[in-house]
Symmetry: C2
Subunit: 307 residues, 2 copies
Amino acid sequence: MDEIKIFAPATVANLSCGFDVLGCCLDTVGDEMLIRKNNSREVKITKITGQDLPLETDKNVAGVAVKAMLEKLNSDQGFDIEIYKKIKSGSGIGSSAASSAGAVFAVNKLLNEPFSLQELIPFAMEGERLASGNAHADNVAPALLGGFSLVKSYEPLEILKLPTPPELRMVILHPLIEVNTRDSRSIIKQSISLKKAINQWGNLAALVSALYTEDYGLLGRSLKDEIVEPVRSILIPFFDELKKIAKDHGALGFGISGSGPSVFAMCRGEEKAEEVKKAIQEFYQEKEIEFDLHLSKIGNEGIKILG
Amino acid sequence: MDEIKIFAPATVANLSCGFDVLGCCLDTVGDEMLIRKNNSREVKITKITGQDLPLETDKNVAGVAVKAMLEKLNSDQGFDIEIYKKIKSGSGIGSSAASSAGAVFAVNKLLNEPFSLQELIPFAMEGERLASGNAHADNVAPALLGGFSLVKSYEPLEILKLPTPPELRMVILHPLIEVNTRDSRSIIKQSISLKKAINQWGNLAALVSALYTEDYGLLGRSLKDEIVEPVRSILIPFFDELKKIAKDHGALGFGISGSGPSVFAMCRGEEKAEEVKKAIQEFYQEKEIEFDLHLSKIGNEGIKILG
């Protein structure tokens, strides 16, 4: 196999009480990528459509991730990478992670899988380091593994795949405003109250339990965040109103996706998700902000091979 | 049924990363209690052996818990309560919780179970309020429900029973020194770093996953506490040495039980637990501190009816 076409999914990190540790993969929102071996001994980004992103290998998250992987293998195989972006940069649904995870997944396939999916995570994290200055795993891990990923620890890196209750649906609203990940990170207080931390870890522990037991009610009662959401949500237009609308229409939970500005409503069942999506759409159409709106299952498969 | 005899188990709260939210029940360490209906319309503590504790109903945790329960029922049924203490007060393995949980369990049985086990928790918590000034649930919940209990939230009170991997064993060392629960609580900083909190909730989430998947290795890697243990462990003689010994002999995890001074080593399998227990015993015998040492399964049943 000299060429592979893949679907590289969008992901939702920082799921409420799972700040910095819990993310999930979307099923139908994502980019496409075409990767083929070349004879140049170089990794080249040969084409990008849909977004204005650097073609220079060392400035492109996919290029950097693949180079880190090839370096580990001591391989001088070259690759051409075409990226058909559908996820917008800076949207908060893992645009950079989709590209870096997708690229290492594809190259691994073309090299007959020298690495497991788990082993690919650190290479994809190098793309994140380039994108945000922070080699975080909470988007690349769910993109590669599918479903829900828990970043247990960074030193050593240990990532768990948690079960995916089948009826879950995600409604994602992306207000087309700019929020810089670095800025969004800098407004978070580095010291928090023990009491709030205890509430947060009680909720996260319950959320993990709910994923194992498919207890949708408990999942909803656990999707809370007293620490980051109150600070970051001020950057998102009409956050409180959106949350109220989503909850009033039966969403299990509502929160900020990644560092925003996208927000997610987690719902049980397609019908409920459609209702929540429609309510959000009607509300936001009256505001003078352009937006994208998605509805997706949780992508339990992660990256998919196309064609 | 006018009389019931029960075993009221000891419990281990604050399980490392599960500070304030996660506790578990011991199977063979605990008190016995005999409770019978009387005709006096009063709740009376008629006998206590093994510990010097108040017989006055309103100053006794069992008395207070039962009175809270009867008040809710608008019942004027009287009870005599005999408590045969084997758990020492101030040991950090839920002495007060055993008495208050045991009492409400027994009275509930004698009244033909007007309440579920979950519904008994708030009454038992009133005993904890008397004992420590804080109506916490992380000892009374595992005593009543058995196994591992997660206190998801206090407002509203929501408590989950988590699965118990069958090979788990607990070795409990109780150094016979005095540590007051209130003092032990007061030395904890009320503000913590976000980074440490994230590590903690990553570990707790992984621990919950490990309980569901019976992944003993992951359980061990998750039993960490960077927040409370470094502060409280200074009150426990030779804590660091004990921890090293337990780990060197294969304990999955080692930490402070409750607010101490008891410590626990969680082990996989009876044989490993015996080895850890022996090593701890040999080490501590050389110190000039008296101690109790227990080895127990996790008590999945909670309170047991005897005879």
